[in-house]
Symmetry: D2
């Protein structure tokens, strides 16, 4: 197919974005609750765009691996939906939470059913469901196979040191898991589900890899077809309404595209029918999403006219 006419000036736009990122004096704050993440150089910035025409355009540190953290929740959701189908929705909701990413408040009000699959509690349930009787090792193998197939790249791995680090410091996630177990919404012992969850979050990818891995959500011909078109739309809808925790509304307002952020500073953004975008900059804003990354995709969407909202 021919390139979307709207992609003509892409390289110039990417150049401007990189220049703006490099000139930025306020880069946000690197997450410090996991020692392995706290040591990352905040000066890095990478951006990669995989277009519907099959081309890929990257700038900056797009080939530096980083910890994708919560961006992994998108792949886990795809796998869990593949295994359970709509039965998954009996265990996790589809509404924005209106609360911080690791809040436990809502769980008490709603009897252990997390609001959506992208807050921590919801993602833990998704991983628990995706385990579906298999050992964590098998699930993690499937997760890596899924991501590698999506990216068409086998050089994607889990950083065990990061996973171990989260296991040691993840008391809030243990609290969430035990709490849901107390409400009967966790099939496996908390330490088993969280073992899988922490390793899932510790997948490392470059922007270039992540942009390619997101192509199955573009809903465009020629892209890897890992889930049905219906499911693509629904995952995108959830990313738009819930993908940035309590900053989801603001991201939709400013960027106008489905996206999922991770505390490692990465964001996967989908321009349906047009592009899969990965951006990475380690410093976070007040909502826990990459500060320069958000600004970069805001500029990208505006300059390219990619907002889904007209």
């Amino acid at each position: 197919m021919t390139a979307d006419p709207g992609t003509a000036g892409l390289d110039a736009v990417l150049g401007d974005i990189l220049a703006a990122a490099r000139a930025s004096t306020d880069r946000g704050r690197v997450a410090d609750y996991i020692p392995e993440l706290a040591g990352v150089d905040p000066g890095q910035f990478g951006l990669s765009v995989a277009l519907a025409d099959g081309s890929q355009h990257s700038v900056g540190d797009a080939d530096v691996p980083f910890s994708i953290q919560s961006v992994s929740k998108v792949f886990a959701l795809a796998i869990a939906l593949g295994r359970l189908g709509d039965r998954l929705w009996a265990r996790v909701g589809r509404e924005p939470s209106g609360l911080a990413f690791n809040s436990i408040l809502q769980l008490e009000h709603e009897q252990g059913i997390p609001r959506n699959p992208f807050i921590n509690a919801g993602a833990i349930v998704v991983t628990d469901a995706a385990l579906a009787g298999h050992a964590p090792r098998e699930y993690l193998g499937e997760l890596l196979r899924f991501i590698r197939a999506a990216a068409e790249d086998d050089d994607i791995h889990i950083n065990d040191a990061v996973a171990r680090s989260e296991t040691e410091t993840g008391h809030r996630n243990f609290a969430l898991a035990h709490y849901m177990r107390a409400h009967g919404n966790l099939d496996n012992p908390p330490e088993l589900t969280l073992g899988a969850y922490f390793h899932q979050c510790a997948v490392e990818m470059t922007c270039a890899q992540l942009a390619r891995a997101g192509r199955f959500l573009m809903g465009a011909p020629g892209m890897p077809r890992l889930v049905s078109a219906d499911r693509v739309r629904r995952i995108n809808a959830l990313m738009l309404t819930c993908g940035h925790y309590d900053g989801s509304g603001d991201f939709a307002f400013r960027v106008g595209l489905p996206g999922k952020s991770g505390v490692g500073g990465g964001i996967l953004v989908i321009a349906p029918g047009r592009a899969s975008v990965a951006v990475w900059s380690p410093g976070l804003n007040a909502q826990g999403n990459s500060k320069l990354g958000t600004e970069a995709v805001e500029m990208l969407a505006r300059r390219m006219g990619w907002s889904v909202f007209g």
Copy 2:
């Protein structure tokens, strides 16, 4: 311009939707908290679609006027943004609330700043801001002029009996208004702002009128241009993330389009670049949104391939 190729089968789709609506045995529950609304015949169903090519397609009771109620919040937001610009966002947020439409909980946690302009508290602040020193009568005049210009139809009015009825029974809205006034986030006395607010909610329109009135949000050439393209995108983003109260995530998941519902059973839905849709059926689902209306636009979006998510 020529019709979007995707609109070819529209009339057949509308026919199927009408047949399904007529055959439905569970029509939800008509709102009963306002006497004037409680008396509406629940058997009614109307749907109207205004396309980017300028054509309009309607079925069912598309010419029966109904109380648009909270759908009016979209027009009020456009007016308030026109008056205040981005200063409005100092007084109201842009995040989904994660709570019921008339909840007062969030206000206490966040010092009188409502989460978004489409929950009741937020809409009351928007109306208060839109008053901007003018008398309610002047504001309501401007609101009607805006809606009439958008619909290119002067036969659109406010039902005073409905407005009065809300004034008498609207204790929860009075509670919200006094609460925000206590936090300094209401410029006018509660009874004045609420007087304007209740009248704004009492605007009556038909589906055909409402679909035309929504065209300014399509972002398509030839449509009424009442606000800037940037603002169109942002209003659509807010409708998608916050337009259906605590059912917004589910609406995005199922329909994939920005929409704003009202307790009178109407919903305005925008397919960016393609169509403005109004549907009406008085019975509501558990989240307070039109039950058949939601089902109708879900079928419409799926059959026409209009989801913004691919």
Copy 3:
């Protein structure tokens, strides 16, 4: 009867308390949300003790009238219980709220039933119930008659300017009242109940008068007998568990006696069988209770061995 042996050193203790109060450099902060209260001289301090033997001992500004504010809730509760008996408990609970005095959160969770009669929402319901079909003027007449009979002093009045001031600025109380009305837990229009409530709060008394007025809660022979012994015990229990808003536990821990504070800086404290104590100092602590007043009754209870807890 002879004096309680424990009251021998009372005058010396009162002298020490007065000296400590006069020497205090941190007097808390005078309430500023009602203009009439904001202007009160923070340097004042009064304390009066009415003993079971009929004697009364006072120090400092014990004859300066002040606005009793929420201390009035004790008298209103006695009147409402006299009118409705235990039916009152269908409309208001008997549990500490665990929240600030004017919180609206709990009302949403518990469908408009306030937690106890001493938080604002509960006191508004109590006044609403005490009205019992009568005009505010009649209720306020009964309230004054009750207080005057308890104090055996007719020179006790309502300060209309204070009442008007509260009416104008009491948006939070209007929010609470409308909210409860929306839940069906207010018999009268909010402005009528609040009119009575604001006047009730505006009763002015001296420490000497207030200490005498509290004697009916001492449960000792020879004291005014305005309610039954059973009811005395129950009102005292509510004062101990709920009388100081979110500082009730701390007051019980430090003082060990039932008490009810007001935002005007007054506190009524009951030592069952022994004494009725009124203290006043306008500066408030972080929980909204008189700072020096709390310290004074803490010293008084400890030195006199009056704690109910042994």
Copy 4:
């Protein structure tokens, strides 16, 4: 010393209470979340009163051992205060929670500081503090020594099967502990503190033993003196305001005495200066406190005139 004149009719009152308990048809519901407790015969009822004159009066199944569960929190608090003194209050509050006994809501609002030492979260912190660097085995040894000294009875033990059972099903307590650890308010690993906590809850005592063990809180001459008089008053104050979870206000209202209940159906009640009372009946009311036990001590306090409130 001679008997308090108010204790003359005690035996007759106890006989009436036993008769009423035996005649009761609604005995509440035995806790079923711990298998070992679920199997207890709900028909049992025991009551024992240790008076200030040194005599002890018992009826019913006062010599049948039961699991004291949360009643143990009183002894743990005494030990922790002995070790840390007032520094303990930096880690746990002194206010009623206004929420259910195992709520996690409040912790989120207040950054991991539990409201009081008698809700589960607070008691876990108290045990964590009481460990103070020692192994759980040592702490549990000290706890048993304290209780045995208080009761002057060495035949008091921990039921390991009950402790193990709680460890296996205590997911909510694990959630609370991890949550507080995440906020830095737990010195030890959650499994270590909870190991001690679950064993502490599994202490088994008879009513006769428990009534004697509570005598150190009577504040009367001749009673075991295990903590200072000041501390006795403060522990009693906390029992009165917080000892029955979200039913504390109601217990104070009806009984008028400090008390601490356990989910095993036991309640320890203190009549300062007069008596230490233990009652046991396994069936619980809606607030999770012994139903017949509450009714029994209500009758006892009223008939004996023991309310602290006059």
